[in-house]
Amino acid sequence: MKKLIDNADDVTLEQLKGFGLAHDTVEVHFDPNFICLAGGVEGRVAVISGGGSGHEPLHGGYVGMGMLDAACPGQVFTSPTPDQMYEAGKAVNGGKGILQIVKNYTGDVLNFQMAADLLRAEGIEVRNIIIDDDVALQDSLYTAGRRGLGTTVIAEKVCGAASREGYDLDRLAALCRKVNIHGKSMGMALTSCMTPQNGTPSFELGEDEMEIGIGIHGEPGIERMPIKSATEVTSMLARRILEDGAYTRTLSEWDSEKEDWVDVEIQDITFQQGDEVIAIVNSMGGTPISELYTVYAALAEQAEQHGVKIVRRLIGHYITSLEMAGVSITLVKADEEILHFYDAPVNTPALRWGA
């Protein structure tokens, strides 16, 4: 297995140790594992996220000033367990409640719900906001719904900044929900990837094939087809994103009056002529940075054709799937509020500006 690891059975542990040694702006805790801001959170809402490992820099790389207060890494491609979020929540709780940003995978949703229940039992207010932005999945009625992809990064950035500027828990939850319904993503793979535990590719792709509409866990996508040029691939993804309808789904959110999880119906925006967007052109891991630029050029072209203007962009490794070769594209419609918090200073291992 061509990986730089020591112990296939617990790579997460060894990588977390290195992460802790490398970055002195964060603290790494073990058993249960979580990464949190060194120095703690006082008098503002704490923002927490997490998910399976293997998507680095997500989420640990985004812990720091102006973004996440804590991140809970699960085993590779396996959502974290409630005790991790419970301990992380207690560690960073600043008395104003906790926003949990959760990617829409059954495991993540359930484990973060259980964690919220545990924290609430300690008297800490918690809101879970789900990110489900993967337009590859059209249907929501008969499925677990859309997966969480790149919009997560923007949600973490924007909410981290808004917490610093004093948003209370409900307002922050509303902002996070807004980023989610403003954001749409889609990905594709040229190669599969391999978890250290399994040591075999999670799916097989022929030498001339690519997989469209993949997630970030080595799952197969929605369609397999012959490899096309970067511009054709990008057009396919970008058009699907730009022309996506007003997707509607039911998500579980905590109702503090009913004191129970209730179903909330939520509807996406659709992109309109004149919209300004934040774009992410994201390597799935194995695709080198250079190749992302042909994709960016084609994306800019598609956006222009749709009358949509890219006003900010991230091009690089942001939400990956181990060593998978491929790319995902995210567009988030940016209003003044979102742009203001996006531009605010941030200092994390993986995202830094203005500081």
Binding site: G52, G74, T78, L110, Y142, N198, S202, G218, E219
Partner: protein, 205 residues
């Protein structure tokens, strides 16, 4: 019996680790066997020294919840948590207790997972197993016979997931492409039901 069941589950899930992860590969993220094996290894290592069945099942639940992760962790965790609730303080199980155990567990999964049979999940093995338990006992069968029937029903339910279109969990992302594959969670559920039959048989032998 419960301790014996737990040991039997741990050993059969360890044996089937690779196979369960492989089933999770075409329609999931290829980790179900790893998750279950890791969870039950921890269960064995942390099992409390008590004969209280409720406490034992709660112990299993808490360990699964904190060690498995993924979808299966909270779902099986909820199964054992709910299953154990009415059994707190008991050290012996009547056959009716076993039915109750399964029915409570299944109800827990239904609620937590917003799911039901026919969606290509663990419920497609567990629900028929619970039904078979109840009806075999109602028809006058003993526990061994009921567990035999439950195991057969779970196996049939597990195989019945093959033609299904997934509507929950990761497999549902695949739409039509999920058809033709056996659900890994239904498979581990079948093993769990069978393990109880084997444990009871082992004791009576």
């Amino acid at each position: 019996m419960i301790r014996r069941w737990i040991e039997e589950m741990a050993s059969v899930l360890a044996e089937n680790r690779a196979c369960l992860s492989e089933l999770d590969s075409p329609i999931g993220d290829a980790d179900h066997g790893n998750n279950m094996e890791r969870g039950f290894r921890a269960v064995l290592a942390t099992l409390p020294e008590t004969e209280d069945i409720g406490a034992l099942l709660k112990g299993v639940a808490m360990t699964l919840i904190s060690r498995v992760g993924g979808a299966a962790g909270p779902l099986y965790g909820t199964f054992f948590l709910e299953a154990g609730k009415p059994l707190a303080g008991k050290t012996e199980l009547t056959p009716e207790d076993v039915v109750q155990l399964f029915e409570n567990g299944v109800t827990g999964i239904r609620k937590r997972g917003r799911s039901d049979t026919g969606m290509k999940t663990m419920l497609d093995a567990l629900v028929p197993a619970a039904d078979a338990l109840r009806s075999t006992l109602a028809e006058g069968g003993d526990l061994a016979a009921a567990l035999k029937a439950a195991t057969d029903a779970a196996e049939a339910g597990m195989k019945g997931t093959i033609p299904m279109l997934a509507q929950r969990g990761r497999a549902s992302y695949l739409g039509e492409r999920s058809v033709g594959h056996q659900d890994p969670g239904a498979t581990s559920s079948y093993l769990i039901v069978r393990a109880l039959g084997d444990a009871v048989e082992g004791i009576s032998r």
